[in-house]
């Protein structure tokens, strides 16, 4: 649609999301509620896609930026702190803090290659989590910061327990983020990212400075992840425990990007739907369905559908990768990531 391209899967998916939002209530699907989580993780995935997908840097600490975003948003808004900004100023602050954090992590480490960078980001994630847990005075430690005030939308007012407005807000922000990513991808910077990903040496010979390009990617990715964190915290009116932003979340973000298709914005959307959809929507529904049919044998560890979730989730990941090694909706521009 944008710039005269044919209708891309992103817009079909987002259109589907709009349709779902409209039909959910009349059809009694009850899907809008869990879909909000999918939207937040799509944002996180977009952030990681900039770093890993566009620029080719394996990043295993995205959850840290989500955490930084959630805590920045919480400290900016919660009434136990002096700032008490509204939703929108706090969200701006969150994004800025995220970008700065990304920049700070990137500056000393972006000279590292491949998997060395990956483990540095992993370590950063663990350190951030420890800081959140241990610095009780600022972060409230395991208590988490709550309550966070709900967003206020012009014409709607404060968002309450009604799920619809939240959904539309998140969807709107996601659409904005998708548009921003698309434009970035085609901008000078975006082309520099892709060039660095495909061949750093060649890119630098062509006059692209790899380190600033990577730094910019890190900051952009971190800003998007922080935004996801801020929205996440505002949705549950709480940052939750620091453990909610652990390595598993980073891994989930990575799965979203790769299952969707590296470097593909369409892929991120479909990837988050697939991953969160399987784990948080389909599996609970399946377990509930099996229980309702009485397929539960409590005397046996195999008898409870809930005990099978890891296995199903893992098999889904493996099968998806086997069937679509390039991801569900791979990027159209060139081959991504390359074999060897």
């Amino acid at each position: 649609m944008i710039r005269g391209r044919s209708l891309s899967p992103s817009w079909i998916l987002l259109g589907g999301a709009v349709l779902l939002g409209l039909l959910d209530r009349p059809l009694g699907l009850g899907l809008v509620d869990p879909m909000r989580g999918v939207l937040v993780f799509a944002l996180l995935g977009l952030g990681l896609n900039v770093v890993t997908g566009f620029t080719g840097l394996l990043h295993l600490g995205m959850a840290a930026f989500m955490a930084i975003g959630a805590y920045a948003f919480a400290i900016g808004t919660c009434d136990i702190y002096p700032f008490q900004l509204g939703f929108w100023p706090a969200m701006v602050l969150t994004v800025v803090v995220g970008a700065v954090a990304g920049f700070l992590l990137g500056a000393p480490t972006l000279g590292l290659r491949g998997d060395y960078l990956a483990i540095v980001t992993l370590g950063f994630g663990e350190i951030v989590q420890d800081v959140m847990k241990n610095m009780d005075a600022i972060t409230k430690g395991t208590q988490g910061i709550n309550p966070l005030p709900p967003p206020v939308l012009p014409g709607v007012g404060e968002l309450g327990s009604e799920e619809g407005p939240w959904y539309w807000l998140f969807l709107g922000l996601l659409v904005l983020a998708v548009m921003a990513c698309r434009n970035l991808e085609r901008s000078r910077t975006g082309r520099a990212w892709l060039a660095v990903r495909e061949d750093e040496l060649a890119a630098s010979c062509m006059g692209i400075a790899p380190i600033p390009a990577k730094m910019y990617a890190f900051a952009t990715g971190a800003a998007l992840a922080a935004m996801a964190g801020g929205l996440w915290a505002s949705l549950y009116a709480s940052t939750g425990e620091p453990g909610n932003y652990d390595f598993q979340v980073s891994i989930l973000a990575l799965c979203i990007v790769i299952v969707g298709g590296m470097g593909s914005i369409d892929g991120v959307l479909v990837g988050s739907l697939a991953m969160i959809g399987v784990a948080n929507i389909a599996l609970p529904k399946l377990a509930a369905w099996l229980q309702a049919r009485g397929v539960v044998d409590p005397s046996n560890v195999l008898g409870s559908p809930n005990n099978w979730k890891y296995l199903v989730f893992g098999v889904v990941l493996m099968v998806m990768m086997r069937v679509r090694p390039e991801g569900l909706l791979p990027a159209r521009l060139g081959r991504v990531g390359g074999g060897r």
């Binding site: 136990i80 979340v249 784990a279 599996l283 005990n307």
Partner: protein, 395 residues
């Protein structure tokens, strides 16, 4: 597939017709079923099922349905705020749900309490012990107000809170003749909270606190920490944590490092699995466990009957968690029975007015905050590879 699902669907259709005639009331529980808490929550679910079977699965001709929801997700391996919120929302949307049993983790209740509160759905927790959820002045300044947006109380719990248990634990430590203590916690809401209370009370009682450490509950061992504790020469090691946050491993490493001090843990470790994980010989005669209630084999009346029935059904001694699950289920069903209108409001009102309830844990009521008035705490030790009731605490 086809020939299997068809009869299934047919019987389902029949069943739903039958239900429509008499009406169905649904109870859900939301507990972490995927991941490391599975062992504890399995006991709880067993207890809840016993409570439902005891009333024959129906009350006043209305069928009682039960759904065991999981508030953990496989990618987290632990309770997941998104899933807990989803469970709460799903329960709210399903009009036949009249009671929500959960959660196991106090952190999860922080998420779902406001959701259920707005909907006026009664919530009974068999596991939350964080005081701030119900008691003003015990947690953050704005707690528990923030969990009750409607201003009414819909959250109840059948377990005594950490502020009581941590306190009696410190008093018991003093009684046992300890003069110095080394405190550990698992840096989680429950473990850290109870260790904080213990520390405060211990200092008041004049026990010397030689150290305080937050541990990594996923570490493979704590031998280095045990060396440090040994050098500190403390009489007692108190660990605010649970079996799943490695209380057993700590016991082992203390012993293998040659620490001879006593070892005290809260009710998060009051389960067979703790002894199995730690190895009986590492606990023998030196381990002390506090518990909010009486152990099953000390119970009279209702509790003793529960124990017999539980053993007959599951062939194991009921754990503390099973008792809590059973008690939560029973108090809810009792309220349903008493409620004139079998609606959410009716049931909520009936739960709120629970007084002198003849439960498995004794006779108790819900107080104005929604807490159980049961204040009985017991102390256990480990002897011959089994928990041994030592005494009633805090009397």
């Amino acid at each position: 597939m086809k020939n299997r699902t068809l009869p299934l669907l047919a019987s389902l259709a029949l069943a739903s017709v039958a239900l429509a005639q008499t009406g169905t009331l649904k109870i859900v529980s939301s507990l972490p079923r995927t991941g490391s808490a599975n062992a504890q929550t399995t006991s709880m679910v067993n207890g809840i099922k016993m409570a439902i079977d005891e009333v024959g699965g129906q009350i006043d001709g209305m069928k009682i349905e039960y759904e065991d929801m999981d508030d953990a997700s496989p990618q987290r391996g632990n309770w997941d705020p998104a899933v807990e919120a989803q469970n709460a929302n799903r329960a709210v949307r399903d009009e036949s749900v009249i009671g929500y049993i959960g959660t196991y983790n106090s952190g999860a209740s922080k998420i779902s309490m406001p959701i259920l509160n707005k909907a006026g759905l009664v919530m009974i927790s068999p596991g939350n012990t964080y005081p701030g959820l119900t008691k003003p002045g015990m947690g953050e300044a704005n707690e528990p107000r923030i969990y009750r947006p409607s201003g009414k109380i819909n959250y109840f719990r059948v377990v005594p809170t950490d502020d009581l248990q941590g306190r009696v634990a410190a008093e018991w430590a003093k009684e046992l003749g300890c003069t110095s203590v080394y405190l550990l916690d698992d840096r989680e809401l429950y473990g850290k909270g109870i260790a904080d209370v213990f520390e405060k009370r211990a200092k008041e009682l004049g026990l010397r606190v030689l150290g305080r450490e937050g541990i990594d509950p996923k570490a493979s061992n704590y031998k280095a920490l045990a060396n440090k504790i040994k050098a500190s020469g403390a009489d007692l090691v108190y660990y605010g944590g649970t079996t799943q946050t490695n209380a057993g491993q700590i016991a082992k490493d203390l012993r293998s490092a040659g620490v001879t001090s006593k070892y005290m843990v809260p009710d998060g470790c009051f389960e067979e699995a703790f002894i199995l994980a730690a190895g009986a010989e590492n606990l023998e005669g030196r381990t002390f466990i506090t518990f909010g209630g009486l152990p099953a084999n000390q119970l009279q009346g209702r509790g003793a009957k529960f124990r017999e029935a539980y053993i007959a059904r599951y062939r194991v001694e009921p754990e503390a968690y099973a008792l809590y699950g059973y008690e939560a289920g029973r108090v809810l069903l009792d309220a349903v029975k008493r409620a004139k209108a079998k609606t959410r409001e009716g049931v909520l009102e009936a739960v709120r007015s629970t007084r002198d309830f003849e439960g498995a844990l004794g006779t108790w009521s819900f107080d104005e905050n929604g807490d159980t008035t049961s204040r009985i705490m017991s102390g256990q030790s480990v002897e011959g590879g089994k928990f041994k009731f030592v005494k009633v605490l805090g009397q």
